[in-house]
C-alpha cells in the first residue's frame, strides 16, 4: 500500500512540473461549467466532471511527454502492477472526489432553483409530469440525478480506456495531447451515432429495438424509486466494475510490453 501511495506522489510531482498551462485550461473549463450550473440549471455542472475526467489522464501522463518522465518508472524499484494500480487509483480517486463535491454542490443549487434562472423551466417540468401520467413516468428529479451518475460512469469508463491505451501503447506526442483527446471524445460520440444510424438503416431496428426496450424499461424502472438513487448506485457499480476490468487488462498489457 505504501508503495502505491509513493507512486501516486511521483505522479503528482511529475505532473506539477511545467504543466501550468494545461492545469489552468482544465481549471478554467471546469469552473465555467460549475458557474454555468449555478446561474442556469444545476444539472449543467455535470459537464465539469466530464471535462475533468476526459483531461485528467492525459494531464497526469503529460510530464512523460514534456520531461521524458516516463523513464522514472524504469529506474525506481517497483513492479509494473503497482504502477498500473497507482495510476488508476490516483485518477479514479481525484475524479470520484471531485464528482462527489460537484454532486453535493448540484444538490445545494437544486434546493435554491427557484432563486436563479431555470433553463428547464417549470412549465416544461410540469408538462413532463402531466404527460407521464399517473406516476408512470419517472420524476424529473430522479431523471436528473440518474443522468448525473450516468455521465459519471461513462466518463469513468473513458478514463479507464485512456489508461489501458497508455499502458498498452505508451505515450506519443500526437495521441495524448489534451485537445486531441477531447476531440477524440467528441469524435467517438459522432462515430457511435453514425454506427447506430447505420445499424438502424441496415437492420431496420429489428435487432436493436428489443434490446433497447429491455434496457430503457429497466433503466426507467430503476430510476423511479428513491429519486434515482437505485439506478445511480448501479451506474456507479458499472463504472467501477468496468474500470476494474480495464485495470486487470492494463496490468497484463503493461507487463507484456517492451519498455
Amino acid at each position: 500500500m505504501k508503495k502505491i501511495i509513493n507512486l501516486m506522489r511521483v505522479d503528482l510531482i511529475s505532473a506539477k512540473g511545467r504543466n501550468k498551462g494545461n492545469f489552468f485550461l482544465i481549471f478554467a473549463l471546469t469552473a465555467i461549467f460549475v458557474v454555468l450550473g449555478m446561474i442556469t440549471e444545476a444539472i449543467f455542472m455535470v459537464f465539469s466532471i466530464v471535462v475533468l475526467g476526459v483531461m485528467l489522464v492525459p494531464f497526469i501522463t503529460m510530464a512523460e511527454k514534456t520531461h521524458n518522465a516516463g523513464k522514472i518508472f524504469t529506474v525506481i524499484p517497483t513492479d509494473r502492477k503497482s504502477i498500473v494500480i497507482s495510476r488508476f487509483a490516483l485518477t479514479t480517486g481525484i475524479y470520484t472526489v471531485f464528482s462527489v463535491i460537484i454532486f453535493i454542490l448540484y444538490l445545494i443549487m437544486e434546493k435554491f432553483s427557484d432563486f436563479h434562472t431555470s433553463v428547464i423551466s417549470k412549465d416544461i417540468s410540469n408538462l413532463y409530469e402531466v404527460s407521464s401520467g399517473f406516476g408512470t413516468g419517472i420524476q424529473m428529479r430522479a431523471m436528473t440525478n440518474s443522468i448525473f451518475w450516468l455521465i459519471f460512469a461513462v466518463t469513468l469508463m473513458i478514463m479507464a480506456g485512456q489508461h489501458r491505451k497508455y499502458f498498452k501503447k505508451g505515450i506519443s506526442s500526437k495521441s495524448n495531447s489534451l485537445l486531441r483527446s477531447f476531440l477524440k471524445f467528441l469524435g467517438g460520440i459522432a462515430i457511435f451515432y453514425a454506427v447506430t444510424a447505420a445499424i438502424i438503416l441496415i437492420f431496420n431496428i429489428d435487432i436493436l429495438k428489443p434490446t433497447l426496450i429491455v434496457l430503457v424499461n429497466m433503466l426507467i424502472a430503476l430510476a423511479a424509486p428513491m429519486n434515482g438513487l437505485l439506478l445511480s448506485i448501479i451506474l456507479i457499480f458499472i463504472g467501477f466494475g468496468f474500470t476494474l476490468y480495464q485495470l486487470i487488462c492494463s496490468v497484463v498489457d503493461y507487463e507484456a510490453r517492451e519498455l
Binding site: F134, P210, I213, M218
Partner: protein, 641 residues
C-alpha cells in the same frame, strides 16, 4: 351620379334587410330542435361537421390519409356519417358505406349480450361457478379453489393474468377448436377470483365457449342467429377467417392497414408555398388479417352501418336483443362501482364514461391493424360509432361534440379537496401483464409509485389525478383493499395492484442483469489472463466458468422474450419458442447452481491464491443472485404462464 346614388341606396337597403331578417332565420334557436347531450343542436353539429368536410385541405388530405369513418345516431335515426380517408391509400380507394374494418374488443360485448340472453332464458346463472358449464378438469393452472362466476368474468375479475403464448393461426387448416385453443394458451391464475380486475382476452373467449356449450350451438352460429339476424346485420362476420360472410371477407381483403408516423419537415401549403411543418406519413402494414383462435374476444369485422345498428339496438326501448326490458336495463346498470359511490366503473363488460350531462356505455377495440369505438347513452338515445384502419388514429373525434365534456369539475368542485394517498403509499403495477412464468420479470419493469400522484378527492377512497387548474385527468380511480392486504387502484376494468417489497425485488432483477453483463467482462479478463499465462484458477474452475457463461446465456434468453414479442407485434411467443427458452433457462439454472456450490467450496477450501477469498466470495454472490432471481422470477417456467 344619380345612378351611383341609386346603386348605393339599393346596397344599403339590401344590407339593412339582410341584417334585420337574420335574427329570425339563422340566429334564433328553435326550442323544439333536437339537441345533443353536449347542448349543441343537431343541425349545428351537422353543419359544422359539413363545413369541416368541405374544407379544401380536408378534401385534399382525405385522398392521402388512412380511413376514419364516424357516425352519429339518435335512436333509430342516423344523423350524420363521415367517411374520411382511404381504405387503400396506394390505390386511392376512398372509405364508404361498404368499407369493412375489424371491431376488435367491441366483439366482446357480443359475448356479454349472448350471456345476458342466456341468463334471461334461465340457462345461465351469473353467480354460479363457471366450472358447471365447462368440461371436467378444463383448467390446469388454477391457483385458487374459489368459484369463478360469469359476473367475475364480465368484470374481468376471473383472476387470470395476460396470456403469454400466441393464439393466432397463419393457416386455417391448423385452426384448433375454441376449446382446444383455450386449453393451449391458458394463462396462469395469479389473482383471487372476484377481487382483482385484470383485463383478459382469454377469459372473454372462455365466456364464448360457455355460450357455445350452454346454447348447444357453435358460437359463430349463435351470434348470427341471435344478434346479426334479428338486427339485420348482413355486413358483419364473426368467424376467425370471416368465411361466415364471404362479402365481408372480400371487402376486408381490400382494406389495407397503416401505421402513422409524424416528423418535422417541409411541405407545400394551400398556396403552393413550401414551409416547415409536421409531416404525417402512413406506412402500409398490408391487410393485417389474422386468424385469432380466441375469436370471441375480438374477431368481429363489419361496416360502420352495422356497428351503428348494433349500438342502436342497445339504446332501443323495444330491446330487440332481449326478451325483457329488464335484461337490457341490467346490462347497462353497472356491475362494479367506484368505492361506495353510485358511479359505475364497469357494466357487465361495457365501459362507462361520465360526461357532464350524460353517462355513456360502450367499448373500444384494437386489432393489429384497426381501431374501433362505440359509445352510446341509453337515456338520450344518442350514440357515436367510429372505425379506422390506422391504429394511431382513434375514431372518437365526435364524442366530445355529441356528449360534451367529461365530468371532472362536477365531481371535485371548483375548490377541490386534495386526496391523501399516503396510507396507500407504495409501488403498483398494471395487472394486465405477465404475473407468472417466463414473462414475470416484465411486471417489475412497469411499476410506479403513488407517492408522485397529485390526487383530488371525489369521495372516500375515490379520486382523480389533478395537476393544476388547467391540467387534470378525467379518469376516476378508486382504492380497494384485497384479502391478502394488498391495495389496488381500480379504473374501469383495469387495476394497478400493489407490489409488496418492490425495491428488493427490483434490486434482485437488476442484480441478475448486472451479473450477466459482469460475467461477460470476467470471461474476457480470464481470456486475457489465460493468454498471458497468469491465471490462478479457483477450485472447480471449469464449473465456475460455465456458470459465468450460463449467466450471459440466461440474460440473452430473457431479452429474447422481449425480442420475439416486439417482432411479433406483441402477440406472444409460440409454444416451441417458449419451451426452448424455458429449457435453456432450466439448464442455466442448474449450471449456476453447480457454480454456486463450487464457489462455496472454493471459499471454504484453504487454497492459497492471490485474492482467492475475494474472488470466491464475488463468484458465490454472483451465482446466488442469479439463481435466486431465476427462481423468484420463474424464468424457467414455460408450462404455466
Amino acid at each position: 351620379m344619380k345612378r351611383i346614388l341609386r346603386r348605393t341606396a339599393a346596397i344599403i337597403a339590401a344590407a339593412v334587410l339582410t341584417v334585420c331578417t337574420q335574427p329570425f332565420s339563422a340566429f334564433a334557436e328553435n326550442e323544439d330542435e333536437l339537441k345533443c347531450p353536449s347542448g349543441i343542436t343537431v343541425s349545428k353539429l351537422i353543419s359544422s361537421q359539413e363545413k369541416i368536410d368541405a374544407h379544401p385541405t380536408n378534401i385534399k388530405n382525405s385522398k392521402t390519409d388512412s380511413a376514419r369513418v364516424e357516425l352519429v345516431f339518435h335512436g333509430d335515426e342516423i344523423l350524420y356519417t363521415r367517411y374520411y380517408g382511404c381504405t387503400n391509400i396506394e390505390e386511392h380507394t376512398p372509405a364508404d358505406e361498404n368499407s369493412v374494418f375489424e371491431w376488435g374488443s367491441i366483439s366482446k360485448t357480443f359475448t356479454w349480450v349472448s350471456i345476458m340472453q342466456l341468463w334471461e332464458q334461465g340457462k345461465i346463472d351469473l353467480d354460479a361457478d363457471i366450472r358447471t358449464y365447462l368440461p371436467d378438469n378444463f383448467f390446469r393452472h388454477l391457483k385458487y379453489d374459489d368459484p369463478i362466476t360469469l359476473t367475475d368474468i364480465m368484470n374481468h375479475k376471473g383472476g387470470w393474468c395476460e396470456k403469454f403464448y400466441d393464439s393466432t393461426s397463419e393457416d386455417m387448416a391448423e385452426m384448433p377448436s375454441l376449446e382446444e385453443a383455450l386449453k393451449n394458451v391458458e394463462p396462469a391464475q395469479t389473482y383471487r377470483p372476484g377481487e382483482v380486475a385484470s383485463y383478459s382476452n382469454w377469459a372473454a373467449a372462455l365466456a364464448g365457449l360457455i355460450v357455445q356449450r350452454v346454447s348447444g350451438m357453435d358460437y359463430v352460429d349463435y351470434i348470427h342467429k341471435n344478434i346479426f339476424e334479428p338486427l339485420g346485420m348482413e355486413h358483419t362476420a364473426v368467424a376467425p377467417n370471416l368465411t361466415d360472410n364471404p362479402w365481408v371477407r372480400e371487402q376486408r381483403l381490400k382494406t389495407i392497414c397503416y401505421d402513422l408516423s409524424t416528423h418535422g419537415g417541409y411541405k407545400e401549403n394551400e398556396d403552393g408555398v413550401i414551409e416547415e411543418g409536421i409531416i404525417e406519413e402512413f406506412k402500409s402494414k398490408g391487410t393485417c388479417l389474422f386468424n385469432d383462435q380466441l375469436y370471441p374476444c375480438g374477431s368481429i369485422t363489419g361496416t360502420i352501418g352495422d356497428l351503428a345498428t348494433y349500438a342502436q339496438a342497445l339504446v332501443n326501448d323495444a330491446h330487440p336483443l332481449f326478451k325483457n326490458a329488464e335484461t337490457q336495463e341490467k346490462l347497462l346498470s353497472g356491475s362494479s362501482f367506484y368505492g361506495n359511490t353510485d358511479i359505475p366503473s364497469f357494466s357487465y363488460g361495457f365501459d362507462v364514461h361520465e360526461y357532464n350531462n350524460v353517462r355513456t356505455f360502450g367499448h373500444t377495440g384494437a386489432t393489429f391493424g384497426c381501431v374501433a369505438n362505440m359509445e352510446f347513452d341509453p337515456v338520450s338515445k344518442f350514440g357515436v360509432v367510429g372505425l379506422s384502419n390506422c391504429r394511431d388514429d382513434f375514431p372518437n373525434y365526435l364524442c366530445s361534440s355529441v356528449f360534451g365534456r367529461l365530468k371532472v369539475k362536477k365531481y371535485i368542485g371548483e375548490n377541490f379537496e386534495k386526496a391523501d394517498l399516503t396510507p396507500y403509499s407504495g409501488y403498483y403495477s398494471d395487472t394486465r401483464t405477465h404475473a407468472a412464468g417466463l414473462g414475470k420479470f416484465i411486471l417489475y419493469m412497469d411499476a410506479f409509485s403513488v407517492d408522485n400522484i397529485k390526487a383530488a378527492k371525489v369521495a372516500d377512497g375515490v379520486f382523480l389525478e389533478y395537476h393544476s387548474e388547467e391540467a387534470y385527468d378525467d379518469t376516476i380511480y378508486s382504492i380497494v383493499e384485497h384479502s391478502d392486504g394488498r391495495h389496488g387502484i381500480v379504473n374501469s376494468c383495469s387495476e394497478y395492484l400493489e407490489i409488496k417489497h418492490y425495491i428488493p425485488k427490483l434490486c434482485l432483477l437488476a442484480g441478475f442483469m448486472l451479473c450477466g453483463v459482469a460475467s461477460l467482462f470476467i470471461l474476457l479478463a480470464k481470456r486475457k489472463l489465460n493468454k498471458a499465462h497468469k491465471t490462478a484458477p479457483l477450485s472447480f474452475a471449469h464449473i465456475i466458468t460455465a456458470g459465468q457463461l450460463a449467466k450471459i446465456i440466461s440474460l440473452a434468453a430473457m431479452i429474447s422474450i422481449v425480442a420475439i414479442r416486439v417482432n411479433g407485434d406483441n402477440d406472444g411467443l409460440t409454444r416451441t419458442e417458449g419451451t426452448v427458452i424455458g429449457v435453456i433457462q432450466l439448464i442455466c439454472l442448474a449450471v449456476c447452481g453447480l457454480a454456486l456450490l463450487a464457489a462455496a467450496y472454493s471459499f471454504i477450501a484453504q487454497k492459497k491464491l492471490p485474492y482467492g477469498k475475494i474472488r470466491s466470495l464475488s463468484c458465490f454472490t454472483g451465482n446466488l443472485i442469479t439463481v435466486s432471481a431465476m427462481i423468484f422470477f420463474e424464468m424457467y417456467n414455460f408450462w404455466c404462464c
